[in-house]
């Protein structure tokens, strides 16, 4: 039998899931019309679409629990300090290689996390995870393949992928951080303890990055502050000015 959990802890958990997919979905959508080749443009747009669709489910449930709010309210009417996404997803895209490296580092965590959430004690969480994990399997397949293709590619692409990995690696640790919110969520059987995903994650990432002939940095230093909202990077505010512009300029505007 599961322990009951406060609505507040559940809400924080749902915001963490939904803000990750929202902010990454927005970042990836910035490539629409700009990718190096048509097939990649389409793939990036489809990935962004899946992530935004998953956001509808996570933030939709969060809004219900908060009471009378929609996913749109949460996406467009909160300010930077209210967001609970990890810093990894808000860093700028950089070049195509860095975008795909970030995608891979996130997809690897995402696929493992969703797999565990499918057996959540909360049926609503389990249902969203079951739906999303099918889509994320394709994201991971593609980002993993592309990281290998570019890492083990030309001298130029290899150098850029190594630079991308060096830049992004310090943002990986935050996905495995735990705090009192996690403790409550874990006790209620809603989600796994993030730290317990690390071993599987490291094995998966090491296998792909080795194939990609890339070197994982040794430092385990981790930038933190996104998933608890303590301190986001400066980049999130800039992203929000673009994403939320319409609702801020024309409050209540409807499609």
């Amino acid at each position: 039998m599961s322990v009951s959990v406060s609505n507040d802890a559940l809400l924080q958990f749902l915001l963490r899931m939904g803000d990750n997919t929202l902010i990454l979905g927005h970042r990836v959508s910035e490539w629409c019309g700009h990718a190096p080749v048509l097939e990649e443009d389409i793939a990036l747009a489809n990935t962004a679409l899946d992530l935004i669709g998953q956001t509808q489910m996570w933030l939709g449930l969060a809004g219900e629990i908060e009471g009378g709010k929609s996913a749109d309210d949460l996406a467009f009417l909160r300010d930077a300090w209210d967001f609970r996404n990890v810093l990894l997803v808000e860093v700028p895209n950089g070049d195509f290689g860095r975008t795909l490296m970030r995608q891979f580092l996130f997809d690897a965590w995402h696929s493992i996390m969703l797999g565990r959430l499918m057996t959540s004690s909360d049926d609503r969480v389990a249902a969203i995870a079951a739906k999303a994990s099918k889509e994320v399997a394709y994201h991971l397949e593609r980002s993993g393949d592309t990281v290998v293709g570019l890492g083990d590619g030309t001298e130029e692409s290899h150098t850029r992928m190594q630079e991308a990995l060096d830049y992004l690696w310090p943002y990986v640790g935050e996905m495995f951080a735990s705090d009192e919110v996690d403790a409550k969520i874990v006790a209620a059987g809603i989600a796994p303890n993030p730290i317990d995903l690390r071993e599987e994650y490291d094995a998966l990432v090491e296998r792909i990055l080795t194939q990609a002939t890339l070197t994982i940095p040794e430092s385990r230093f981790a930038h933190k502050g996104g998933r608890d909202g303590r301190m986001h990077t400066e980049h999130l505010g800039h992203l929000l000015t673009q994403m939320q512009w319409l609702q801020r300029a024309y409050p209540g505007a409807k499609w």
Partner: protein, 152 residues
């Protein structure tokens, strides 16, 4: 007298998918249940991909079609569990897809053959295609690109 649900199902089988109009929303397996709740007809639908923009259009098309048949009191319920799977595509739908030039999903994870020339010499271009539900493949015999309805 209330219209039988069998009749409703056959009407819905005439509502085309907005993105792939050769198959119906019933062929696609997204209509999960049809039932009467007193005077209200309840149609339960499930999205294919969570971000698929066609989902809201489909709900609207279903309502419009039922209204045209004289049923004005309709409630569309959306459910995500169990998650939609390509296993729910009807046999009729699979055949129509292939006729239309879209290779139907296969458990092996790739198309069985080119939907145009039938050759088995095919290769993947990209795991993502023109809509969330499709991948982009190419036939190395007739050299034509084609869509593959990917398995989920």
């Amino acid at each position: 007298m209330q219209t039988s649900t069998d009749q409703i199902w056959s009407w819905l089988d005439a509502v085309p998918d907005p993105e792939i109009p050769v198959i119906s929303v019933v062929d696609l397996g997204i209509v999960r249940d049809v039932r009467w709740d007193a005077e209200t007809l309840v149609v339960r639908v499930t999205p294919t991909y969570s971000g698929c923009p066609a989902t809201s259009v489909i709900s609207m098309d279903i309502e419009t079609a039922l209204r045209d048949h004289g049923i004005g009191d309709v409630r569309i319920e959306t459910s995500i569990a169990p998650a939609w799977t390509t296993d729910w595509l009807s046999e009729k739908g699979r055949a129509k897809l292939e006729d239309y030039g879209i290779a139907p999903p296969q458990p092996a994870g790739g198309p069985e053959r080119c939907p145009r020339c039938g050759s088995e010499a095919v290769e993947k271009v990209s795991q993502f295609g023109s809509t969330p539900c499709k991948a982009h493949w190419r036939c190395t015999d007739c050299l034509e690109p084609f869509d593959y309805f990917k398995c989920i």
